[in-house]
Amino acid sequence: MTSTLIETSIYAAISESIQAEAKRILSDGQVSTIVGYAAARRKGSAQPIVITDASDAQKLIFTPACVNNLAVYLTKAKKDIPKKGKIGIVVKGCDMKALTGLMGESQLKREELYLIGVPCAGVLASTFAPSQELTDESLAPKCTECDAHLPTGCDFVPTETPLTPELEKKYAVEIARLEALTPAERWAYWKEQFAKCIKCYACRQVCPFCFCEQCLCDRNKPQMVETTPRPAGNTAWHIVRAMHLAGRCAGCAECERVCPMDIPLNLLNRKMAKELKELYDHEAGFEVTEKGPLTMFNEKDDQSFIK
C-alpha cells in the first residue's frame, strides 16, 4: 500500500498570517507575550518560543513539526511568563481543547488570553524525523482521529481551510483489538508495556492537566504508589494517571509523544474518554464547563454493577 500525502501547502500562508497577527498585537500592546513555535536547528524541526517583542514576530512559524501542546506553558511554566497584560498563544485544535478544559478548571482565564488558532491538517508523529513529509503513515496517531482541525473560540484564525482525508482511526482500532482479547491477554500486554517505564515522569511534566502542586504519586506518607521504576509501581502509576485524567484529557497525546520508552499512554486516555462518552455522554474539550463528568452526578446514573 502506498502512503497518501497530507496536503500541508497551506502551512506557509498560515505562518505568514500568524506572523502578521503577532506583530500587530504585540506592537499595539494588546498582549505582552506570545507563546508560539519557531524553527529549531535541525532541518525542518520546530520548537516552542516565547516572544515579547514585535520584531521577533517573524520568527513564528507553523509546520508539520509543530507538535508541542503549548497550553502546558500556561499552567506549569506560567510563573515564568510575565504576568502583566494578556498572553497570546498559538493553538492547534487539539491544544485548544486542553485550554478549554483548563479554563473550566479555573486554571486560566479566557480574558487573559489572546488565542491565535491554527487550521491544522495534522502534525508529524514523534517517531519520524522533522524533515519528513506528512503522509498518512508519518502523521501523528492522534491526528487520524482529529475532530478539531479548525479550532473554535479563538480570537484570530487564518482563513485557510485544511484538506483532511478520512483516515483509519488508529486508537479506535487498537482499543477494539485490545477489548476483543481476554483479560489475561490484556494484562500480559499492559504488563509488557508498563515494564518498560523508567518513571521519568515526562508524561506528567508535559501534561497540561497534571498541574497539582504536589502529585499524589510523590507523596510518601502514606505512599500510595511505589516510586521506584519497578513493575508494581509502574503499573499503579499509569493506572492512577489514566484515572486522574479521565473526563479531562481531550487527547493532545503529548504524554505518548514524549514517552522515551514508547508506552502507548494515549491508548489508556482514549479508552477512558470512550467510556465516559458511553456512560455519561461527555466529551472533554468542547465547551468550558465548571464541572467534569467525575465531579458531578446524576441521581439516575447506571448502577447495574452495584449489588
Partner: protein
C-alpha cells in the same frame, strides 16, 4: 450453636472498604444479631464511599487482596448528601479502566448496604468470598510486586551473561 467449620484449601483475603454510616453499622448489626459470615473479610472503615480513592483498591490488590469489596449507603441516604453519588460515577469508570488493563472484575464487588441490612452484608460477603475462593488467589498484582526486575530487563543473552558474571 456453631455450624461445623468446613475446611478449604484456599482462604481468600477480602478487603472491604466500607462507609462508617451505613455498611459499617450494617456489619455491626450482623455481628450483634449473631449472624455468621466468612472471617476472610477485613473491614476498613471510611467516613464515606466518596472518600474511597480508586488507588486504595489498587493498593489492596498489591498488598495481597484476592478480592475487594466497596460498600456504602444506598443512593439518597448519604450522610454527606452526595458522597455515594460521586463514588458511583468514579467506580463505574474505574471498573472500566481495570477491565481494560486486564483485571478480572469478578474480584471487585460494589454494594449498597444500609445500617439495617445486616442480612444483606452477610449475603454480599459470603457471595464474594465463595466467588473469589473458586477463582483462586489473585496473582497478577502480587507477581508484579514480587518482581525485582527494573526497567532494563535482562532479556538478551549478552546481558544475562554479563549479569551472571557479576
Amino acid at each position: 450453636m456453631h455450624l461445623a467449620q468446613q475446611q478449604h484449601t484456599f482462604e481468600p483475603k477480602i478487603f472491604a472498604f466500607v462507609c462508617t454510616w451505613c455498611t459499617y453499622a450494617g456489619a455491626d448489626l450482623a455481628g450483634t444479631s449473631r449472624m455468621q459470615y466468612p472471617s476472610n473479610v477485613r473491614v476498613l472503615k471510611f467516613p464515606c464511599t466518596g472518600r474511597i480513592d480508586p488507588v486504595f483498591i489498587l493498593k489492596a490488590f498489591q498488598q495481597g487482596a484476592d478480592g475487594v469489596l466497596v460498600s456504602g449507603c444506598h443512593p439518597g441516604d448519604c450522610h454527606y448528601i452526595a458522597g455515594n453519588f460521586h463514588a458511583r460515577r468514579r467506580f463505574a469508570v474505574f471498573r472500566k479502566l481495570l477491565e481494560f488493563v486486564g483485571v478480572d472484575l469478578n474480584r471487585l464487588q460494589f454494594s449498597w448496604v444500609s445500617a439495617a441490612e445486616g442480612g444483606k452484608w452477610v449475603e454480599v460477603v459470603t457471595d464474594l468470598t465463595e466467588k473469589v475462593r473458586n477463582m483462586g488467589p489473585m496473582t497478577e498484582f502480587k507477581e508484579l510486586a514480587m518482581e525485582e526486575q527494573w526497567s532494563g530487563a535482562i532479556n538478551t543473552p549478552e546481558l544475562k551473561e554479563a549479569y551472571n558474571a557479576i
